[in-house]
Symmetry: D2
Amino acid sequence: MYMAEVELSGQNVDAVLLSRVIDAIAKMDAEFNLCETRIGRTADDASYARIEVGAPTCERLDEVIGKLRELGAVPVNGQTITLATVTKDGVGPEGFYSSTNIDTYVNMNGKWVPVDDIEMDCVVVVDTANSKARCCPIASLSKGDRVVIGHGGVRVASMDRRADEERGFSFMGSDVSSERQKSLMVREIAREIQAVRERNGKVLVVAGPAVIHTGAGKHLAALIDAGYVNVFFAGNAVAVHDVESALLGTSLGVCLKDGTSAPEGHMHHMLAINRIRGLGGLRQAVDAGILKEGVMYALVKNNVPFVLAGSIRDDGPLPDVITDSVEAQKAMRQGTKGVEIALMLSTMLHSIATGNLLPARVKTICIDINPATVTKLADRGSHQSIGVVSDVEWFLKELRSNLIESDE
Amino acid sequence: MYMAEVELSGQNVDAVLLSRVIDAIAKMDAEFNLCETRIGRTADDASYARIEVGAPTCERLDEVIGKLRELGAVPVNGQTITLATVTKDGVGPEGFYSSTNIDTYVNMNGKWVPVDDIEMDCVVVVDTANSKARCCPIASLSKGDRVVIGHGGVRVASMDRRADEERGFSFMGSDVSSERQKSLMVREIAREIQAVRERNGKVLVVAGPAVIHTGAGKHLAALIDAGYVNVFFAGNAVAVHDVESALLGTSLGVCLKDGTSAPEGHMHHMLAINRIRGLGGLRQAVDAGILKEGVMYALVKNNVPFVLAGSIRDDGPLPDVITDSVEAQKAMRQGTKGVEIALMLSTMLHSIATGNLLPARVKTICIDINPATVTKLADRGSHQSIGVVSDVEWFLKELRSNLIESDE
Amino acid sequence: MYMAEVELSGQNVDAVLLSRVIDAIAKMDAEFNLCETRIGRTADDASYARIEVGAPTCERLDEVIGKLRELGAVPVNGQTITLATVTKDGVGPEGFYSSTNIDTYVNMNGKWVPVDDIEMDCVVVVDTANSKARCCPIASLSKGDRVVIGHGGVRVASMDRRADEERGFSFMGSDVSSERQKSLMVREIAREIQAVRERNGKVLVVAGPAVIHTGAGKHLAALIDAGYVNVFFAGNAVAVHDVESALLGTSLGVCLKDGTSAPEGHMHHMLAINRIRGLGGLRQAVDAGILKEGVMYALVKNNVPFVLAGSIRDDGPLPDVITDSVEAQKAMRQGTKGVEIALMLSTMLHSIATGNLLPARVKTICIDINPATVTKLADRGSHQSIGVVSDVEWFLKELRSNLIESDE
Amino acid sequence: MYMAEVELSGQNVDAVLLSRVIDAIAKMDAEFNLCETRIGRTADDASYARIEVGAPTCERLDEVIGKLRELGAVPVNGQTITLATVTKDGVGPEGFYSSTNIDTYVNMNGKWVPVDDIEMDCVVVVDTANSKARCCPIASLSKGDRVVIGHGGVRVASMDRRADEERGFSFMGSDVSSERQKSLMVREIAREIQAVRERNGKVLVVAGPAVIHTGAGKHLAALIDAGYVNVFFAGNAVAVHDVESALLGTSLGVCLKDGTSAPEGHMHHMLAINRIRGLGGLRQAVDAGILKEGVMYALVKNNVPFVLAGSIRDDGPLPDVITDSVEAQKAMRQGTKGVEIALMLSTMLHSIATGNLLPARVKTICIDINPATVTKLADRGSHQSIGVVSDVEWFLKELRSNLIESDE
């Protein structure tokens, strides 16, 4: 849904003109909302009306506004964009427009051009020669880039809740209460993942170490094997504990078979890290026949691209970890292309980082046992985010049972 | 394990005497711990030793202490109990001994007598004629009751962790982290419930409304039908939402089949309450053929005793609810007799109230998705309490699958 | 703000008629919203419009609707109420209207009559002879009462956010994040309490035991002494620990002066309970010169009415506690009359119970360190509820400093 | 306190020998604990005793063990360390000893040498020529390093709780309940910081963005100005929001003066980042007279060293941020030298990362409003960690008032 506002003002604005405008909108099947109406009581009073108009596409909206112009209505934000030039690498000009994560168009000399690579808190770089615009993080700006200044000539889509509601997905949306039926939610999420897969969209999984500690790694590995994971983001700890469990049967020293603490188990993760460092990396460990199960094994075996992003709490780290945060963001940004649904499993850092990179239109499902984390993650200003306060172990077990049974 | 302390003091206490005492303890298979040892460096220095001695029964401990007395050791707390008389109903005499929830003996003229109905924060009422002692809440004291004053002559068991550890139950004990494998925990809990049932012990279930809201009522009803619940405590809300779901298919207006909100669903719980009030109560509703499924139906049908305790946040309430909190406590106290294991499902108020009434020896399993609640509930000064930070829906589903499959 | 809907339909509905209706509404300074507009494209097409109209009072709304009737508009819900008779004490007739906590009018033969004692989940009992209506809990219905059935003829106010927003109060409303400046929030809350006091409204304080455990009792007592608390709700535990701290200097055995555990301190609360039971109650303890400080002392001394409601987790209880939950609700219902602002301090049970009894128009401020509790409490479907995730100790210290300084 | 175990075994072990050993230990003022005692009942039975011996220094412990050897006791772990050589940079030899964060000695040919730079999860690198040992992260190992293998010859101090208890510090230790008097806790923490300062120890502050969002930045800046912060760790967000508040008066767009949302405030942090990027960094911004207040200004002005560590959720980042996590860890490791007390304010990532680098002997105070975070942070296997569940705003206000008043 694209929205714009038009104004009617002056002495000849009366109920009759207003009704004509409404009539015109209604006949074009567009939507409208009377934001403000001050109709003078006598013929001399100045009257005023502000009307919000909505249409399903940016193009259709332009047609409607064109028609209303003929009736005397003036678009509230109709000007073309203002541009400035970057004078120093990695620094934006003062007053630059900072993007949201919602589909956006910019008005280049009267033509509405979509902004590519939409991402929040970016600068919009414009290629006037080719009528192109794209989001660019400040750090990646280059001297000479032409950049949008201010809000003039920028049009942001409003999110359309109804399409999803018809499909029954978003009944779960706003409420992150733990007192809800999770099995119903998982069933809907499974349907959504199936739908994404059927239209060849990508499924992104972002995981935290609880996935391994709770013994849910086997369910995630099964989903990877069944082709339900197209790209994977995590940190060093997930990979370390997954490898620890594959090589030594423990996660942080706790035996995954029976829950007991292994003798000297607190050293196991260092041992796992050291062994992979010795081999040169995870793929090498798989090729050498040493890493033979678990999540990382499944990713390597099925050639699913993954990004392991470093953090200052990492031990080791594993050779596969991208330790520079700016480089890791770039790799993640690359990985999110084509993603239509993202499962964020028990990690606040990686989920927020991923959420920052995703367009609002991507569905995100945040699973965490801590309601505060879920609230924080689900609060993206978009009804496309669903929070599930839940055990990740049982969530993944149930999801696996829904998805893999439904295949057979 | 019963513990007592003996002292050795004076100039003839030396390493040789100490070794003899240790030798004597060791030969009687008792346990000991040297709490304090000040052995004089010259023959003139006063020496002192305090030794804690432990034996598996109160009687055996008395034998060991008798032997040590012969060697010159003096029991630290060897006197008989002091008594006072209640002069006003419901009021204890100043200085009364306030009980713990751990098995306790009182020394009545040299004989160690067990305290019946052990419960924390009670007064110990003694019947000297019959050598009997029992816990009594202050409110139930009667004029003329003879009551223990101070700590003299009171011996409290220390909890014996090892017996359980051998059975693998308590590995879960102290840690209420959510990052654990719940399926392993549920397996152990199921084993423990089976063991209780095999020795004809009782299983108590204490439930909060989340059990119904999450759709887990069907799992709990199945466990009741299969005979795994011997007594049931809850509040008005559990029964109301269970009846709402049985009569109208919703819980707090949310449809349990598909998670959607029913039209006018917010009135459903009032409608359910009103209907049961009209019929006179839950049993009447079952007898009338109106209440035909759910947790309350299963309890009535299987003649499982239940206590619904009132609270100030209740709507209605249902006629079966005991609205007076002192009366409700009495009914719960009665219900806990013979209970060996208690499952506390997503309720803080009823779980704490029940925990206050239970002897420390009763195993309690607290399931809640809020770690703060679990920590509070599991912190009973006893390793018999296990906290599981988990979805109650999936906990009950998994428990049902463990218990009912294992029957077949 | 009172809202109603009117419909326009038929072949003579066109943009001109619509504009006249809008014109009429605008001239009466009422508000409107076009909910649905289907204007036929040819003269033969049936047209339809549904318009929501709002006015600041129920009476003014009737005038506007009267005017629109003249133009051919038909009110969507214009009928009079339907009544049924109670045939059994404490049981409503099937299909009764269940009230919300928002100001409500019922249409008795064309006249809009306000519903007194507005409270959620109640039945509306009507006295047709005197044109009166009032909320009544199911349990208090008497045989012969005339009761509203269904929604016909019932008009509920919509909450008017703007009046408060102008006063700067509700900027805090929806967000219960802990990452906010609490000192600003406390300043606004203090202003609001001052305003209530200046117009002789009542301030209700609902408190949980953390108020005492955290040592904040002295701040609350100072607020009571300064006349900022007009009515007080709590449970047995608050009074017990307050008395414990007044008599023995500890709360649950922890010394409030230095935070150390008192020897045998775990018995202190039983000792405090027993002493008050011996004296007959809190007022008797004050009169006897034994209770000389603390929250309960301040309430008794200043003749502030209080309700101590019993619960099944109580020890004792104190003689002042109302142990029957239905009786306690009645006392609380009585206590809420005239309350304009309610501070709910670190108690979930008593806060929810109180929230159930309060009209939506009463401002409620919920302070708790647990965000989940604050979210639950603040979620009353009203912007009048503010949640503050905070230490109650520092909240009360800051509030005291704001209120008592501002007096001087 | 340094602990070691000795064994007595064989037919001539009887109570008399045992008493002689105990006598010897007692005469050397060492402590002991009889771990296991199996004294044969007849002269032919094999007897066995295992005794734990403790002394305040590693050297004194050696003397005691030397004496006990003469009586026939055998140290349980008396051998010298085993070494292996690193064959590949950044990879440890199989079986390496993984360090704890507790003061540790290694036995180099009979001499106990302290391990420098003690840090958990590191390898112990030994310089036999100079009798030196030090902790080294795996990633920093160089080919040719000599590394300790296994536990033989390694002695780890046990933490001595009593010294602190005498000073009243650790009464707060184990319990992270929110229902405690925070003002008492802050008073003790302030005393401890004063004590550290008086002995020229360093105070480390680790901060999260809530410090700025809650408006507590001014209190922290005052503490920096008063010389109470010797080193500072944070992430990009803290510095960004601090600069945003200094330049624009908002934090994440919320006005710190009155809590309202600034128009276009959501862009403020990007604007702040961009401005500092344009200037080249924080010090440059201070030198240019643009950054004139706030936490970062205070740090720069007072020449307090700081580390801003990057993470994948960063916007920008600021030029001062170390984006590589391994490099950031190195800078933090350097910064922790000489630190005696660490305040960890509302940040899980940076607090855990810092905790990983600190020796156990460093006191850590973790302040967070989320009890789960506090529990996680305070759980370092050391009584030197104190968790305070609290608003960071009021904690810093109270700490400032305690420290800065107490100076005057």
